[in-house]
Structure formats: C-alpha cells, structure tokens
C-alpha cells in the first residue's frame, strides 16, 4: 500500500505517534465524557426545565449539545495537529528536510501529513461517537455519517492552518489562532446555544465559519432528521474551504521548503 509515496510519510507519523498513544488516547475518551457530563447532563438539567428547552426544539440539552461537541472535537484536534507539528517538522526536528532528501516530493510530504491529521481527527470523532452512544444520544443510523462529516469539518480547519503554519517562524502565532479563532468559534458557532440567540450580524459571521457548518450537519445526523437539501450547502462549503486550504498549503509548503 506504500506504493503511494505520501503514505510513507503517514506511516512515519503513525510510528512516531505510537510512542505516546496511551496518554493521547486517554484524553480523546476522557474529554467527551467530561463535556457530556458537565454540559449535557449538568447544565442540561437547568435548561431542560427552562424556556430554553423550547428554543432547542424540545429535545434534551444533552442531545442538543453532544453532536455539536463531536464537530468541535474535530475542529480542535485539527487545529492543534496542523500547527505545532508542522512547524516542528520544519524548524525544530526538521523531519520534512529528511523526507525531502529522499525521492519524496513536497506534495507527498504535505499529502502524507494531512492524511495523518485526518487519522487523528477520525480518532477523536470516533471516540466521541462511542461516548455519545454510551450516553444514549444517538437516535439513528445516520449518526455513522458524523464520522466522515467530522473529518471534513476538521479538514476545513487543518488545511488552511497547515498553510499558515508553514509560513511561521515562531509558534507565537499559533496561540493567537487558538485565542482569537478556535475559542470564539467554539463558543459562538451554535454549539452551546442556537445561533438564533445571537444578533443577526454575528449570525452571518457564524455562517461562514467551518465549525457552524459542521455543527449544522452533525446535529440532524445524530437525531436522524437529516435531509438532502440540508446536507448539500454545508458539505459544499466545507469541501470548498478544505480544497482551498490544500491549494494554499501546497504553495506555502513549496515556498518554505524549496529554497
């Protein structure tokens, strides 16, 4: 299967990850449990008895928040996997340069690393799905599609951020991305409350964020109420952002690595 050169890069990433997988796999399972307990069950016990219950369509808050959190996990995993590790491979451990001294090309290195980020996103979405099932928040077989949709949501974060990471000389920009990008998206993309609660201006901003589009896909998938027309727009948007990210990343990677 390693006839595809990029997969040799992915294979290396997997091997390097295998050294620390224990600690990391724990957090990918513990985080969903903690979030679903605190938000879904804890905060939900208030909301389910209040006026908010109607605003989220008379479902329990746990059912409302769980699929959105799965999309969020995809986004945050994508963000952390596509910034520091890429800069590290360029500046700190210089693993990219070791790869590029072999028959591998810049495109192979980028594709192989993105594929690995995809694996990491898939793992965190899959563990969310398992935990969601344990909490009884999966009401339909459609929920299986949360996995590919989650990967796509993550890709819409990973590819532009990988493009950005390859232009950076220090990691200070990355914490800025988290503070001014990932955290506000996490809070205001309709994960914890319906977007309708926001002022109209902010709603428009939310529509163009990949996380809201991912949330808007995952929620009906978990409930089994998804419709084709509901899917198309969000999917097209996420695919467009991901593809644009790859195109830009190809160019920033080449500019950085082929000097």
């Amino acid at each position: 299967m390693h006839r595809i050169p990029a997969l040799r890069v992915t294979g290396y990433m997997g091997r390097a990850y295998a050294r620390t997988w224990r600690a990391s796999i724990m957090t990918t399972f513990i985080n969903p449990v903690l979030y679903l307990l605190a938000m879904g069950v804890g905060l939900g016990s208030f909301i389910n008895k209040s006026a908010g219950h109607a605003a989220i369509g008379h479902q329990t808050y746990l059912h409302f928040v769980a699929p959105a959190l799965a999309a969020t996990a995809a986004a945050t995993t994508a963000a952390s996997e596509s910034m520091f590790p890429i800069m590290g491979a360029i500046k700190w451990q210089k693993t990219y340069y070791a790869m590029l001294a072999t028959p591998l090309r810049v495109g192979d290195v980028l594709a192989g690393h993105l594929a690995w980020i995809g694996v990491r996103i898939a793992t965190s979405v899959a563990s969310y799905l398992i935990v969601m099932a344990a909490f009884g928040t999966i009401l339909s077989f459609q929920a299986v599609a949360i996995l590919p949709v989650g990967i796509l949501t993550g890709a819409a974060f990973a590819t532009p951020l990988a493009a950005f990471a390859a232009t950076q000389d220090t990691d200070s920009g990355f914490s800025l991305v988290f503070r001014l990008g990932v955290v506000p998206l996490f809070l205001f993309s309709g994960v914890f409350f319906p977007l309708k609660q926001l002022p109209v201006g902010l709603q428009v901003v939310a529509w163009i964020t990949p996380l809201w589009n991912g949330v808007a896909l995952c929620r009906p998938l978990a409930a089994g109420t998804v419709t084709a027309t509901g899917l198309v727009g969000h999917l097209a948007y996420l695919i467009a952002v991901s593809v644009a990210g790859v195109v830009v990343a190809r160019s920033t990677f080449r500019r950085r690595l082929l000097v």
Binding site: Y12, R19, A98, A101, P103, R105
Partner: protein
Amino acid sequence: MGDNSVDEDPPGSDALVAARNLVKEFGSFRAVDSVGFEVRRGEAFGFLGPNGAGKSSTMRMVAGVSPRTSGDLTILGLDPDRDGPRIRARLGVVPQEDNLDPELTVRENLYVYGRYFDIPRRELRGRIEELLHFAQLTERGNDKVDPLSGGMKRRLTIARSLVNEPDLLLLDEPTTGLDPQARHILWDRLYRLKARGVTLVLTTHYMDEAEQLCDRLVVMDNGRIVAEGSPRSLIARYSTREVVELRFAPGDTERMADKVADLGERIEVLPDRLLLYTSDGDAAVDAVTGRGLEPLSVLARRSTLEDVFLNLTGRHLID
C-alpha cells in the same frame, strides 16, 4: 592522489555531477555566483571555503532539494528540475544539521528513512543490521536517538544516508562540532566508503579534513570558485613547500619583517607573528639566526591547505 595532472583531465562522460554557470540567488543576494565543476565516479570531491562562501547552497542544489536560479546542472546524468525524485533515489545525503527523529530509536530511524525510499521491509531489516555494524552502533540499536553523543548521531546520519546504497554520497560539513576522537572515527568510516568505490562530495571549512579526504577540491569564496585542484597541487600553486612562523616580542614584529623579508619567496605580517613562505624551512631558520635575530619562538612546518585557503580567501573575519 595528489597528482597535478588530475586538473588537466578533460571533462569525461564519467562525471556524476556536472555544473556550468550555476547560480543561486536568495532575493537580491547571490549565494552561488556562476560556478562550474565536475565530480567523477569514485573520487572524493570537496568544497572548501569560509562560512557563507556558498558551499552549502551549492550542495543543496546538487542534492536535488534546492532549485537553481540559472545555469546547467546535471546529476547522475539527469536534470534535478525534472527528475528530482529519480536523482534523490540514488543519492545519500548527510545534512549539516542532524535531522534524526530524537523520539525514535536508532533502528527505527534507519527503518523509517529506508521506507521513504520504498525499500522492501525484509531487505531493509537486513541492511539496517549491516549499517549499524558499519556505524559501530549495533549495541545502541534499540536506544532512543536523543541521548546519543554528537559523534554517534553523525555516524547514525551517515548510516542513514547509506540505506539506499547510493551512487553518490553528499556530506555537508560532516565533522563540524565533533571532538577529535569522533572526527577520526568518522574519517575512518568515510575512508572505508571511498575504498568501496563510493563517490563522496563534501563541504568543509577544516583544512585537515579536506587534505585527509579529498582527491580534488574547489575553494569557494563569496559564491565563486577561486581555485581548483588536488590538495597537493593547490599547495604547490598557491603556497610554498614550507612555512616558517616567527614570533617576536610584541611591537617588534613590523620591524623584524623588514630584516627577514628577503629570506622567503613571500612574507606575511600578522599581528602576533611573521609567516615566511619558503621552499626550505630549515635553511630559512638558519639564515634568521645567522643574522643575529632572536625570535621568541620559531616553527618550520610543511605548508598546508590552510595556507592556501588564507592566501586565497584572506584573513578577514567572516561572521
């Protein structure tokens, strides 16, 4: 080695690397300024020069990882712009800075790198044991790379560069930063490779390294090639057979220079000593004492590449 006639060899078809008018620019800075050279099969070819001379930039172009700005460059008969992956499949590269994976073991580093070349797993495992033996790292095979000494990491990097059994091995300052023992072990390994017929291309700013390892070398300065030949022919052309170093009391140096200048073919006045370039060092020393001069210290030595190098590239400090 060390035959003058080697310089006059016509460019043969045996050239593994051929460069003509090769230029590399970074923005408006011209790092490599129209250089030409050939590397022939089986030889050890060196780029000697101060920091910033353009050695590493040239090396990166030869390694097929840095596109040239202009000029002709053929590596293993192929154009790196078009056939980069095919060329790199047959090259071994030892970069200036180690880029081993510190989290993986010695063996894993070799394995992962071998897989980048798509070497079949079974074959790779056999090769790794041979390479560990060659690099004297067999006992450390299952240790992580991080705690290894600088010399061991370099040997591992060299072992790694051999995993694809390259036709051409490129080494960018292979012994910089190593202690003398580690350097000698490394040189010994490189000799063995040479004896096996591996073609070596290396950059260095160590004169002793260039003299020890290179059959032929070019001296680079400010992006240009300023001299080319075997170490011995370069010494013959740009220096004298011997050099006498005379140290006088501080303040006396300039005055003494006038008194001994005629004893050598050339004299160089340094802040702390005089260098007298001559074909016969002992005779020059006798002549100095014969004139009743009493230097604080006298050293008559063979001329080295260092003399050539300093003569060609000057004594200005390069930061």
